[in-house]
């Protein structure tokens, strides 16, 4: 883990999923990491701009990477799967193709934008906290054991696949979330759909198809006895949390499965207060039993 990162929360954590932003800042602060702000960055382009206007996507990504570079950081910290894949994909294309980088930089210069020299890596918070020094540091601050809490890990697609661009762990047998769940003192719950899709990218354009995908992880995790599900992606979170009631209609069964952002789970184990983790911003509410198992200070003090 680095001591300084160029922090890139992306759109969702800056908008509807602000609880992810506050939780991520808090946990990284506790880990002794400095997050350097990049106030001029835009959306990463997501799959949408990448698909509709690929060259524009490449340029706005280069602009983001360039800003990170000029901030004096060698690594961007992401907290979203989609941002991670899109920035890494653009970064690889620019770093592997000097001619392409030169063309993009020429366009950036023509429009008065600082160029990108290719010196930045893009890493997700999950990767930084689940291995090496970051993992050791996290174990030290995870002072509240979440014993008895059964947690279903949900990875989401774009932190695993395509492995040639992400490459952090085996996309079919990932274990980073399980490692962190265990470090929190909780118990990971296994189920096949933990590496599958939540359907979010098409939940507005093709709601029926998306819900058909969303039902699988919710149903399997509930069946496996999970108290909560945890995900490193705010898009997966929104899908699993906000669309859960619709998925229940599709499946004809009740899930009532609270969905946690990874930073919230880590935060609960590190004793970060509820006012920062902001579970109240979730659509699927935490039951009293789950609150107790999460050792939320409000519940603990009430006892």
């Amino acid at each position: 883990m680095k001591d300084r990162y160029a922090y890139y929360p992306g759109c969702l954590a800056s908008l509807s999923q602000k609880e992810l932003d506050s939780s991520s800042r808090a946990i990284m602060g506790k880990l002794g990491v400095e997050l350097v702000e990049m106030p001029s960055v835009t959306c990463c382009g997501a799959g949408d701009i990448h698909e509709a206007k690929p060259d524009y996507y490449l340029h706005i990504s280069a602009r983001i990477l360039g800003q990170a570079e000029r901030s004096g950081c060698d690594t961007i910290l992401t907290i979203c799967n989609v941002c991670t894949l899109n920035l890494r994909q653009a970064n690889e294309r620019l770093r592997e193709n000097p001619e392409e980088l030169a063309r993009v930089n020429d366009n950036l210069q023509q429009t008065g934008i600082g160029t990108y020299q290719g010196g930045v890596d893009v890493r997700h918070l999950l990767w930084e906290v689940s291995t090496g020094d970051g993992y050791e540091r996290f174990k030290e601050i995870a002072v509240r054991s979440l014993e008895g809490l059964k947690v279903a890990p949900f990875y989401g697609c774009q932190i695993l696949r395509p492995a040639k661009l992400l490459g952090f762990e085996d996309p079919d047998r990932p274990e980073s979330l399980e490692r962190l769940i265990t470090a929190c003192g909780a118990e990971p719950v296994d189920y096949p759909a933990k590496v599958k899709c939540c359907g979010f990218p098409i939940v507005l354009a093709r709601e029926d198809v998306a819900l058909g995908e969303l039902v699988q992880p919710l149903s399997q995790a509930t069946e496996a006895g999970a108290d909560v599900m945890v995900t490193p992606c705010p898009l997966c979170h929104l899908s699993l949390d906000a669309w859960q009631a619709k998925a229940e209609n599709t499946a004809g069964e009740e899930f009532n499965l609270p969905i946690l952002h990874l930073a919230q789970l880590l935060g609960a184990a590190a004793g970060i207060e509820e006012s920062t983790l902001k579970f109240r911003r979730h659509i699927t509410r935490l039951s009293d039993d789950v609150k107790e198992k999460l050792k939320l200070p409000s519940v603990v003090s009430a006892d």
Binding site: C43, H50, E51, K53, H59, C157, R206, V209, A242, K246
Partner: protein
């Protein structure tokens, strides 16, 4: 070397399935297909699977190993045996099982045919041969490598939920022709592909790219089709409208305008039906204030960048002319 594996057996006569374990000896260099051959030749002749070329060209031996689609002839077994893993071999997903590891490929081929996997030329044949420039061939080379094994289709998450989705193999093949400088049916192809069960059904799970044994990267091919549709201004599909909101949001303020996504993707009438859902989100604080959107600093830079790139993008007409010049003469 000793290899143990479990095979998902299915008997169509009795409609019964079972998992059967086999242990056989085979050379250290054995692939999954070699091990299956030893099982069939020496233990149980009724074990059924497809095979032909044994060299990852014919695309016959697609099947799943521990849930992941592979070409049996391209999958070495020694690493698993050394780890002590006993893999479960099962038929590919998203296709009906006929017997054991053999799936019915008819639905696969029907989608393939639906995208017209052939070159549509002018009525008048060219007076000379079509000359294709190297860069034009490069544009479709990846998609042309497809061997139609079905490994991508097997794992397609959208197809699990919508069996009528054209899917990664057919769409990659479609891109191979949409991107072909000689093809004269490009616009019509794109119109069809941008309809129901087409390009915008893809949920970007990237399983297809992960599984493809030939590096076709079908998801990337689907993204190319989306970009081609935008160039042709074919943006009536809800998926394309969704993408348009992202593009216009970054232009106007840098960040996504989430509150515009619903009305602009599914239209005002569809949006009205979503009001109860939106209120639920609003109560949890999940609806950003549409009157005061979150904006990035210095977004004038992005506007300038957009304008420059739009000026650089060759128009469809120019591309078509260039294509004819390059390919015709």
């Amino acid at each position: 070397m000793e290899f143990t594996l479990k095979i998902e057996r299915y008997d169509p006569d009795t409609d019964q399935g079972r998992l059967q374990e086999f242990t056989v000896d085979a050379p250290e260099t054995a692939t999954l297909l070699d091990v299956l051959d030893v099982v069939k030749d020496t233990v149980d002749g009724s074990v059924t699977y497809r095979k032909s070329c044994r060299m990852a060209v014919c695309g016959s031996c697609g099947m799943r190993m521990d849930g992941a689609a592979v070409l049996a002839c391209k999958t070495p077994m020694a690493p698993l045996a050394e780890e002590g893993r006993v893999p479960v071999i099962s038929p590919m997903g998203n296709l009906p099982v006929i017997k054991d590891l053999v799936v019915d490929m008819d639905p696969f081929w029907a989608k393939f045919k639906a995208v017209k996997p052939w070159l549509e030329e002018d009525d008048r044949p060219p007076v000379k041969e079509w000359r294709v420039q190297q860069e034009e061939l490069d544009r479709i080379m990846k998609e042309a490598l497809c061997i139609q094994c079905g490994c991508c289709v097997s794992e397609c998450n959208s197809m699990e939920a919508d069996p009528d989705f054209l899917g990664p193999a057919a769409l990659a093949k479609a891109q191979r022709f949409v991107g072909d400088a000689r093809d004269r049916d490009r616009s019509e192809r794109l119109r069809t592909l941008n309809g129901p069960h087409g390009v915008w059904d893809c949920t970007r799970c990237y399983f297809c790219n992960q599984r493809c044994p030939k590096g076709v990267d079908p998801r990337d091919a689907i993204a190319k089709l989306g970009a081609e549709a935008f160039r042709e201004r074919l943006t009536r599909d809800e998926g394309a409208k969704h993408a348009k909101v992202f593009v216009s949001s970054t232009y106007r303020g840098g960040y996504l305008r989430e509150t515009e996504l619903v009305p602009k993707t599914i239209g005002p009438i569809g949006a009205i039906t979503q009001i109860p859902f939106a209120l639920q989100l609003a109560r949890a604080g999940k609806v950003p204030n549409p009157l005061s959107p979150h904006k990035a600093k210095d977004n004038a830079e992005v506007k300038r960048l957009w304008k420059l790139l739009e000026a650089q993008t060759p128009t469809t007409r120019e591309r078509a002319t260039r294509g004819a010049d390059g390919a015709g003469a």
